[in-house]
């Protein structure tokens, strides 16, 4: 198919038959610059092995050649970087499905991200199930079938490209037919159930509380160029299951011996999978080293496929009779009581050293030439998902492995994942597990189903637990435990020698188990070796904690659609488009987009803000204040309710009037502030800060529901219902008067801190005389639907007065000149109203309100509390950085230098023709007129402490 292709004979180790690949289609691909071929159904690893390519790269620390050491995600060494079709680092050759035109190369533990944005789409879906089955091997399929037949809502996920699990890499039989026939029948039957969701290429990677499992589905990579453009590349399935059944199988584990890391050294089951699933002979001259029965199947199958098997080296004293016969029939020598204690070769293993092992001592060494050394040190049940959710493990002496150690209410582990390794027993275990789970779920079922028959085919000789072979002439520096981390037995010995006694410490000291595979082959072995060195049973030492994800997950997949503008909802006001057309520069305030300033051509922020400030103080300005939080408070007890929450008196507020109020926590610290309008006896509208809206509503609900359920009050957020436009400045009366001719806007007719309802073209409008700048100001409130029209009329009417839209920056400067605090900027949860110089807002008449008792605490009476003051730098052009510390000066004393406080707000003032700041300073109010210092850019800058209100301290401007 591809230009990259060369003749099929270029894959000399591909068998003419066998495997689940499609030989009628040939793919071309490139690896380490070499042009090679493969077929649909191949992984990158199987296609490489078909060419005799074992080495993928060299190791990260020691530069030793490394290759493909397993057939799936447990491979510790065959890492590759994909270049085409899209760059992606740190993938395993064993899990990359081959596509035409793939370009990849091996990497020593570090890859390279794409330099261009990933244009692929990633998404997520939620699904709910009675039963989630993880793994579509023999156990998982029997569970899923039983549950589906009982009518349960089943989700079945499996990480491979097709169902079958271990059966895909074997030649087992079920019901006297090829096992994969049974698999095909099972999946076909499952497909007929409407309530079964069966997902392949889907890895359950995280198991959390209450049956919550995250799974990653790979949806397009295997389709190559033919992938539909509208299909997401990967999908995270958020599965909530009433019961989770883990049938995730088991990982074969290696045995550690000297020079055990050369390319051509592979797990026995891996070679069997390459043979049966991909039709690839991983080598021609084979030595098998095992401690258990399972590796004999690899020896026999490879011999039947044409390989020369020179020895099965069985560390046990006795080999299983049945397997011995099979070997004899094929002229395979079986060497019992022996081990592999070393290897030769550079970029490929060329020979194995074999010696007897008794009482920990190696006998005479014997050299056997080979190009493939298969290893099996037993099987580790894949307990990851069980352990992630808090399931305890126990060490099983007979298996030499950690298995689930407790029953969990909503989780079952079955089959090989529970330490059941025989096919026939797995099928039976699956049936039993399904029955138990359905019973627990209260789903009626027809009792235990007929269990398909499967011969064991192997003997029952118990395995031998052998973590490592003694190092014949070394100190373990070439005995690799974690190939990816180049971590050895010597490293574990050093950790133990340094006093480490737990596997968690040893893991962090040696880095064993911290690579892409998270110790799938190395973790339990490291525990075993450490236990030997420390002299404790491995069951007591335990394993390191299993944490999600089971296999690596790209951040792009976790982010899904939640990126860019969809990362967090953007809230815009009703006149957003107008701001945009006027070139507003935005400030993000919570989720809101607010204009920060509106630069004219050639203006920077400082110039724009000075111009906007001058307009508001000298003529008229207009602000979009729609983002202010608004809470509708209604009910017969609304006045009493607000009285208890605000520090000042709210019950005495007259209908038609407005009052500024402060809310404190029970600790007396300022929580939020804003104005309150009394709309009727039993009806108030409370304004909150933009950022505090949600928290204040929650705060109000908390007190109402948990402490004062007797109060008849109802709270509703109306933030989005009302657009709010303060029209500010000495000319504001002219503008508002022109737009609303039926309202008496004179100071007598419409005094400060009152509100009036009116209409404009039949649309209800509410005006309020409040000021956050100290200037004469009218706040125009209208429902959002009509907001743009009202805004347009205000702008039009203001034109002849030079009405100037201003943003949050100008708003901040104007309010700071008046020392109106911004909660969260000038306060930080340690500031009382008194600290802000606002004792007047704290009622002395009310018997109690939230915070009152705390004001009497000794700590809140201290004279050296930090108090809000203004700072004027002696240099009129110097802008103090917000957050700067305030110190005594003029020189710094020996550290620790006493801190007097810090700058909370700092601006250029058009009105003052200079810079100024607000600061919280110890005993600040009694230090007015004194000079203190602020470190700025390496020098101490003198600043004078001033009364906080710098502009119009008499308040003469407020009424125009």
């Amino acid at each position: 198919m591809s230009e990259l292709g060369s003749p099929a004979s270029a894959a000399p180790l591909r068998l003419p038959e066998a495997g689940r690949i499609d030989r009628t289609v040939t793919y071309g691909f490139s690896f380490n610059g070499q042009r090679l071929i493969g077929h649909p159904g191949d992984t990158l690893a199987s296609a490489l092995l078909a060419h005799g390519v074992h080495q993928t790269s060299t190791s990260i620390k020691l530069g030793r050649p490394r290759g493909i050491a397993a057939a799936w995600a447990e491979d510790p060494s065959g890492l590759v970087q994909i270049e085409e079709p899209f760059p992606e680092p740190m993938l395993l050759a064993t899990t990359v499905e081959l596509i035409d035109g793939l370009v990849a190369h091996g990497i020593p533990g570090q890859g390279r991200l794409a330099e261009v944005p990933d244009s692929a789409r990633y998404d997520a879906r939620h699904v709910h199930a009675d039963l989630l089955v993880v793994g579509a091997g023999p156990t998982g399929l029997s569970v899923a079938l039983a549950a589906a037949r009982a009518g349960a809502r089943v989700v079945l996920v499996d990480e491979q490209s097709e169902a079958g699990g271990y059966l895909l890499g074997s030649n087992e039989r079920i019901d006297d037919r090829p096992a994969l026939d049974w698999v095909a029948a099972a999946t076909a039957e499952l497909a007929g159930f409407a309530d079964v969701l069966h997902l392949q290429r889907t890895t359950a990677f995280g198991h959390f509380h209450d049956g919550y499992v995250l799974a990653l589905e790979r949806r397009t990579d295997h389709l190559g160029a033919s992938a539909p453009r509208n299909r997401s590349r990967q999908r995270v399935w958020r599965i909530r299951a009433r019961h989770v059944l883990i049938a995730a199988g088991a990982h074969e584990r290696p045995i550690v011996f000297t020079d055990n890391d050369r390319p051509g050294i592979m797990l026995a089951g891996g070679a069997r999978t390459f043979l049966h699933r991909y039709g690839v002979l991983a080598g021609r001259d084979v030595v098998v080293f095992t401690t258990n029965d399972s590796a004999y199947a690899a020896a026999v199958d490879l011999a039947d496929a044409g390989a020369r098997v020179h020895a099965v080296v069985d560390a046990r004293a006795e080999a299983p009779e049945a397997w011995k016969e099979e070997c004899t029939r094929r002229d395979i020598p079986v060497r019992t009581g022996q081990v592999v204690c070393g290897t030769e070769g550079v970029d490929r293993v060329t020979a194995a050293s074999v010696a007897s092992l008794s009482d920990g001592a190696l006998g005479e060494r014997d050299r056997i030439a080979c190009d493939l050394l298969l290893v099996s040190g037993g099987w580790n049940p894949a307990v990851h998902l069980f352990s992630q959710a808090g399931g305890r493990l126990r060490y099983d002496e007979s298996l030499g492995a950690f298995v689930p150690g407790e029953d969990r209410e909503d989780t079952t582990v079955a089959g090989a994942a529970a330490g059941v390794l025989e096919l026939g027993e797995c099928l039976a275990d699956g049936g039993r597990a399904a029955e138990a789970a359905l019973t627990a779920l209260g789903i009626r079922h027809g009792g235990l189903q007929a269990i398909p028959a499967a011969g064991t085919g192997s003997g029952q000789t118990p395995p031998l637990v052998l973590w490592r072979v003694p190092d014949p002439d070394g100190d373990g520096t070439a005995q690799f435990v974690d190939l990816q981390r180049d971590a050895t037995v010597a490293d574990i010995a050093r950790a133990v020698g340094a006093g480490m006694r737990t596997v968690e410490h040893i893991k962090r000291y040696t880095t064993i188990g911290t690579a892409h595979d998270q110790g799938k082959t190395s973790g339990v072995i490291a525990s075993g070796i450490a236990a030997e060195l420390i002299g404790r049973p491995v069951g007591e030492l335990g394993t390191t904690t299993f944490r999600p994800p089971y296999t690596p997950v790209a951040f792009a997949a976790l982010a899904g659609r939640d990126r860019g503008s969809l990362f967090d909802p953007e809230r815009t006001t009703a006149v957003h488009a107008w701001h945009l057309s006027r070139g507003a520069v935005w400030e993000d305030v919570g989720q809101w987009k607010r204009p920060r300033y509106y630069p004219l051509p050639g203006e920077d922020m400082e110039a724009a803000v000075l111009r906007e400030c001058a307009a508001a103080r000298g003529g008229v300005g207009i602000l979009d204040g729609s983002t202010l939080g608004k809470i509708d408070v209604q009910g017969p007890d609304a006045a009493e309710f607000l009285n208890r929450l605000y520090t000042n008196m709210m019950a005495t507020l007259k209908v038609g009037s407005v009052r500024y109020g402060v809310m404190c926590g029970a600790d007396g610290m300022v929580l939020d502030d804003g104005t309150v309008l009394r709309l009727a006896d039993d009806h108030f509208l409370a304004y909150t800060s933009t950022g505090g809206a949600a928290a204040v509503l929650e705060w109000m609900e908390e007190w109402l529901q948990t402490e004062w359920p007797d109060l008849r009050v109802y709270l509703t957020s109306v933030t989005e219902h009302w657009a709010t436009f303060p029209v500010v400045g000495p000319r504001s009366r002219d503008v508002v008067g022109a737009v609303f001719p039926d309202v008496d806007v004179s100071n007598d007719g419409f005094p400060f801190m009152t509100w009036r309802d009116t209409t404009l073209g039949g649309v209800p409008v509410r005006l309020a005389r409040v000021s956050f700048s100290g200037e004469l100001a009218y706040e125009v409130n209208v429902d959002t639907w009509h907001a743009q029209a009202v805004w347009d009329r205000l702008i039009a009417a203001g034109e002849r007065h030079g009405i100037t839209p201003y943003g949050t920056e100008t708003m901040h400067v104007l309010r700071a000149e008046k020392a109106y605090p911004i909660v969260g900027q000038d306060t930080d949860g340690t500031v009382t109203p008194h600290d802000l110089g606002m004792a007047w807002v704290v009622s002395k008449k009310k018997p109690d309100f939230i915070g009152k008792r705390s004001f009497a605490r000794g700590d809140n009476q201290r004279p050296d509390r930090k108090q809000l003051v203004a700072l004027l730098p002696e240099d009129h052009d110097l802008l103090l950085p917000e957050g700067s510390q305030v110190v005594e000066g003029p020189n710094l004393s020996e550290p620790p230098v006493p801190m007097l406080g810090h700058v909370t707000s700092s601006y250029h003032s058009a009105e003052l023709q200079r810079t100024f700041a607000l600061a919280l300073v110890k005993s600040g109010r009694s230090r007015i007129g004194q000079v203190v210092h602020v470190p700025v850019g390496g020098s101490l800058v003198p600043v004078e402490i001033r009364e906080p209100v710098l502009v119009d301290p008499e308040g003469a401007r407020r009424d125009g």
């Binding site: 959390f208 509380h209 600790d667 908390e702 529901q705 359920p709 018997p847 008792r853 009497a856």
Partner: protein, 92 residues
């Protein structure tokens, strides 16, 4: 992520809820009658047991209603969920 059963809405994802600290710590009837120390105990002192713990939750992104729960702080498991007007269940 846990599934928490709101007494008004039913089981919902944990992210919809906010935690409200220890339950059954009533606001004092007359704070002004308390010593600074007694008031500080109300403000700052809370139990921190390993095991069952009665605590407050609010279904903040749902019905916005507060409720109480007895939860095991070691296993995270919710043993009881009850309305504010219901008594604290006996725990073992």
């Amino acid at each position: 992520m846990q599934l928490i059963t709101c007494p008004y809405c039913g089981p919902r994802e944990e992210v919809e809820f906010h935690y409200g600290g220890q339950a059954h710590v009533a606001y004092p009837a007359d704070p002004s009658a308390l010593s600074d120390e007694e008031w500080a105990h109300y403000l700052f002192f809370r139990d921190n047991p390993r095991g069952p713990f009665a605590e407050r939750w609010v279904h903040a992104l749902g019905c916005r209603r507060w409720f109480n729960a007895v939860r095991d702080t070691a296993t995270y498991r919710f043993h009881h969920i009850y309305r504010l007007d219901e008594p604290k269940p006996e725990t073992t």
